[in-house]
Symmetry: C2
Subunit: 248 residues, 2 copies
């Protein structure tokens, strides 16, 4: 599918690295990807690629380095807790080739949070370890911060914590011209409209036209999604797609 004319506005892109053996084993069903995808779309950032990797430093380094060279921003989720299998900070340090050590700001956040309640064990102090040059991302839910280094935003895997960190990070992001989206539902199978739809796509190269079929007891339902950064590009294509309903 041809990309819409980038002259229509500045394009800001993102990659996402989901980190966790539990997602790859199927034990945990990842909900962060869908949330982040929708969130970024809504603020005018195009999520272009997602990689899900296990708790292995080589895999994390490879994915982060591949994506941070390609996209405006990279987000990661998972692996920043207090246990031995939380290796994201060390892996990001390795990806950037910088040392990782306890950050005094992060330590102060933990000390304020835990003061008089629990001891800051070596395990808890792991959550204050940042790669050199990283800036904290506040965590209003449970205290222990994420961090940003370069164009990479490192967030928790627990959905409620990740969502709060993404809100914190969002204020610092440059955003592009938002991709607009219109959906038409047709009570037809894809096969009945495929040829006509291809002709409409060809006639409207500035619009990304996607076709998503489903079916249930009531029959076929095909959702046609038209996307562009300019409403005036979508409108005429939308009229043509709507006209398919009476044709088959």
């Amino acid at each position: 599918m041809a990309e819409a004319d980038s002259a229509a506005g500045r394009i800001v892109t993102a990659g996402l690295v989901v980190i966790g053996d539990e997602v790859l084993s199927g034990r945990t069903k990842d909900r962060n990807t869908g949330y982040i995808a929708e969130y970024l779309t809504n603020i005018g950032i195009d999520l272009v690629e997602v990689r899900i990797v296990g708790d292995r430093e080589d895999a994390i380094v490879e994915a982060v380095n591949a994506l941070r060279a390609r996209y405006t921003y990279v987000f990661t989720t998972g692996g920043i807790g207090p246990t031995h299998d939380d290796i994201t900070a060390d892996s990001i340090g390795a990806a950037f080739g910088v040392p990782v050590d306890v950050d005094p700001r992060a330590r102060a956040i933990l000390e304020a949070r835990y003061a008089g309640k629990v001891e800051i064990t070596p395990a808890r102090l792991r959550m204050a370890r940042f790669p050199a040059g990283a800036e904290p991302i506040a965590n209003p839910v449970s205290g222990a911060p994420g961090f940003r280094i370069g164009n990479v935003y490192v967030m928790a895997g627990v959905p409620a914590v990740m969502q709060a960190m993404l809100d914190e990070a969002a204020g610092t992001l440059s955003t592009g011209r938002r991709m607009l989206s219109r959906t038409i539902e047709l009570r037809l199978p894809e096969g009945a409209i495929g040829d006509a739809l291809a002709a409409i796509q060809k006639a409207h190269p500035g619009v990304l036209i996607g076709s998503y079929p489903s079916f249930d007891e009531t029959g076929f339902l095909t959702r046609i999604v038209l996307r562009a950064r300019d409403e005036s590009l979508i409108a005429p294509a939308l009229v043509e797609v709507a006209g398919l309903d009476g044709k088959s």
Copy 2:
């Protein structure tokens, strides 16, 4: 986290490529990754990496070629329908460097399915296009088959269809020694057990120990998951993890 001793049994690995702009825009929440991850784990295949890419040939080719060189099997979902945005067959052909054309077996399947009901339009015939050398994967749900070429299994994106194709494909897969998994739930925050858990992991290098925190109105809940291919490796580590409950 150290990989369990591979001498404990043959390791069969897999990569997954999820194809679709609609997943990256957040419009569709991908449910296939979680299903496939759990399915493969249950039959003794380790899912090692997932990549989600858009409907772009260069992105699909790169992901498929990277993963098929690394893992025993690669699965793909999405992009094999009848519309112009279904470019997976052509992209897989490009990845393997082979031509793509209508496959007589796939065409016969569609003809039998549609006979006397609907016309086989050029759009519908797109679903019979296979890269040279591919073998069909039956689709008992809606007819149009997926295909296998080399170690790459190309399946639909609609969950019900994908699941049926995975069942069809599973009979042809070599499987390894299954990764066993035991979970213990502790009503403690991760930070309270992190140091002791790290010592247990160090003492049991043949067991992969993961720690997954959550919290709700009733307090902290940390799930400790112990994985290995040999039950006799898990059992003694499990006793030690269970003993953490009274310590903090």
